[in-house]
């Protein structure tokens, strides 16, 4: 049968295009405009060309922040994904335990980012915070305000506490969609617990795991509020991620040109990663 092409339907997306233009395209254009100019305020701009990009690409401060971001994302993915799978596998599949577990898992996700930061800022303090105080009582020399390793430990722990439940809920959704017939067949074949996981549960969770990895990676790569509230990017610059560095540059120093150049490079990296993940996910769907 010959396919009918009707491009008039494109007019229906015009309202969305207008909305996106005002919420995304025009601000992005402004950032591009700022990235090649310098300003000292009062809406006066001076042409700078590619100067800010050159400065940025040769700046160790930028590459260090990028490195921190990548290490942070790798660590939280390495913890949250296996932990999320483990918890989802052990959650009840029927009975009263299901709603209880689901509500408990959903709770951290409902807390705003700045509140999570405040909770952990107080929780981790070694004078009045439950966590910090008792760690010190147990003999650990823990002080996230002064020690970079402790600061990283706190930020990672906070992210794991806040976001592992998202992975859990996604994996759980994948697990409950597996028909009982699969488990019955595995039982008849005498499959071990590991074999059931490897050949039934993991393949069935692949789609949701891809979504989980995508969401967590993008979110952790753009993380700002939580570490900013807890450590403010310190001690020193040890927890200064790209977004924190960008805000320091744009709002702290009011260097709009360099900040715009940094925003564009950051945006391009996010765009590239989103495209890679999107391609992987859509091709996985197509293969299925």
């Amino acid at each position: 049968m010959e396919r009918t092409w009707n491009n008039k339907a494109w007019f229906l997306v015009l309202p969305v295009l207008v909305l996106v233009a005002f919420s995304a395209v025009i601000p992005l254009m402004t950032v591009v405009d700022y990235s090649v100019q310098d300003t000292f305020g009062n809406n006066q701009f001076f042409w700078a060309g590619t100067e800010w990009f050159e400065e940025l690409l040769s700046s160790s401060r930028f590459w260090q922040a990028m490195g921190r971001n990548l290490v942070f994302s790798a660590i939280i993915l390495a913890i949250e994904v296996p932990l999320g799978i483990l918890i989802a596998l052990n959650m009840p599949k029927k009975g009263w335990g299901v709603p209880v577990c689901l509500v408990l898992m959903a709770l951290p996700l409902l807390i705003p980012w700045n509140v999570v930061g405040t909770i952990w800022q107080v929780f981790g303090r070694n004078d009045i915070g439950l966590f910090g105080y008792y760690l010190n009582k147990l003999g650990f020399d823990y002080n996230y305000v002064q020690d970079p390793l402790d600061a990283w430990f706190t930020v990672i722990l906070m992210d794991v506490w806040h976001w592992t439940s998202l992975v859990v809920l996604l994996c759980y959704a994948g697990l409950v969609s597996i028909p009982d017939a699969f488990y019955q067949a595995a039982k008849i074949d005498g499959a071990s617990r590991w074999a059931v996981f490897r050949y039934i549960q993991l393949p069935k969770m692949q789609r949701v795991l891809l979504i989980a990895v995508l969401l967590r990676f993008m979110d952790s790569f753009m993380i700002y509020t939580e570490p900013f509230v807890v450590t403010g990017g310190g001690p020193g610059n040890s927890t200064t991620f790209l977004s924190i560095d960008l805000v320091k540059l744009a709002l702290g120093q009011f260097d709009l040109g360099p900040a715009a150049a940094m925003s564009l490079v950051y945006f391009l990296i996010i765009l590239l990663l989103s495209w890679v993940f999107y391609t992987v996910m859509t091709n996985y769907d197509a293969e299925r």
Binding site: R3, W5, N7, I26, M29, T30, V32, D33, Y34, V36, Q37, T39, N43, Q44, F45, W47, G49, T50, E51, F53, E54, L57, S58, V265, L268, L271, L272, W275, T279, N283, A286
Partner: protein
Amino acid sequence: MAVSRNWIVPFLAVVAVYLAAAGLLAAFVPVQDGVRAWGAPLIAGGWMAWTFPTAMFFLTIFGILSLMAVWEYAVPGGNPRVGVLRFETTRGDRLFVSLLGSAFIHLAWLGLVGASLWWALALSVVYAIAVFRYV
């Protein structure tokens, strides 16, 4: 691949609008000390701080998107195919990969070579042709 519609008129219309808009922008470039200041703001005190080069950049992007629309009008369907990346891409995908790759080529050139970006532009054009041919 059979071209199903007349694309000459819309193609010429896009080119004419592009050239007219570029001419209009050039006319707005302020003159300082008797010379055209190509990098100066087109509208003094405007919050978006438009300059001729950035306006031309976006005009060219919109021009390319309009030409893609003309191509789609002429040969509908997006020409999906499986190329060297071993997954299906349409014309729009190939344009996206070309533009994104070009941005990184320019950044890499700036970081590794220097501020003159003409060679980076040439490399990006070659890259885009390769993407449209093989991806």
